[in-house]
């Protein structure tokens, strides 16, 4: 069964550094998402992406964040200057259409020191 994959599984970085989290969505899916989950808390929507542009973003997704689909398979989330409060699990998800089942990847645990 096709899966969403994410790399790395765990990223440790110093405050102020840039990080790029990578995702490979399911190949025939057209909608891509990033979510984050602070330890023990709920899943929070960051951004959705369709047709090579952001279709929706939350208040969390400020100027420090950006997304890109640099080629036909990868979908990346960049955090330009990490803060301590960015420490969380970041999940990528993809779906066939905007209102259908979202398939989540295994997540990248980001630790900002």
């Amino acid at each position: 069964e096709p899966e969403v994959t994410q790399t790395p599984s765990h990223q440790v970085t110093q405050m102020g550094q840039e990080v790029i989290l990578r995702c490979v969505p399911i190949s025939n899916h057209l909608y891509f998402y990033w979510y984050r989950q602070i330890l023990g808390q709920k899943v929070e929507f960051l951004v959705s992406f369709y047709n090579n542009e952001i279709s929706e973003k939350s208040e969390i997704f400020d100027d420090q964040f950006s997304v890109e689909r640099p080629d036909g398979s990868n979908f990346t989330l960049k955090i330009r200057s990490t803060k301590l409060e960015d420490s969380a699990m970041y999940f990528c998800a993809s779906s066939v259409s905007g209102l259908s089942t979202q398939y989540f990847g295994p997540g990248t645990r980001l630790t900002v020191l």
Binding site: Y35, Q41, K42, V43, E44, F45, S48, S55, E56, S58, E59, F91, G98, L99, S100, T101, Q102, Y103, F104, G105, P106, G107
Partner: protein
Amino acid sequence: GQQVMQIPQYQHVQEGEDFTTYCNSSTTLSNIQWYKQRPGGHPVFLIQLVKSGEVKKQKRLTFQFGEAKKNSSLHITATQTTDVGTYFCAGLIGNQFYFGTGTSLTVIP
């Protein structure tokens, strides 16, 4: 801001007992999805409800969408240890899914 609330936050049940989690929104939802997240895992889609008053069943799981499309529930009959995890609802408002706060289920053998 938009919020989707879930109760209870935690639930401990004896194996074989029933379990229900409730999801409430102050805003009408276009649809609602339910996910299960095992400890240390990622959210896994369970089901999507779209119509007012809709009820769907998956084996021991029963999902319901309220008539006003502002609330939903997930009921598990005769829980098993494999049901352990956190159950999240996610309501669609506009073009964004808002996840509920989750209900963490512990099943005591």
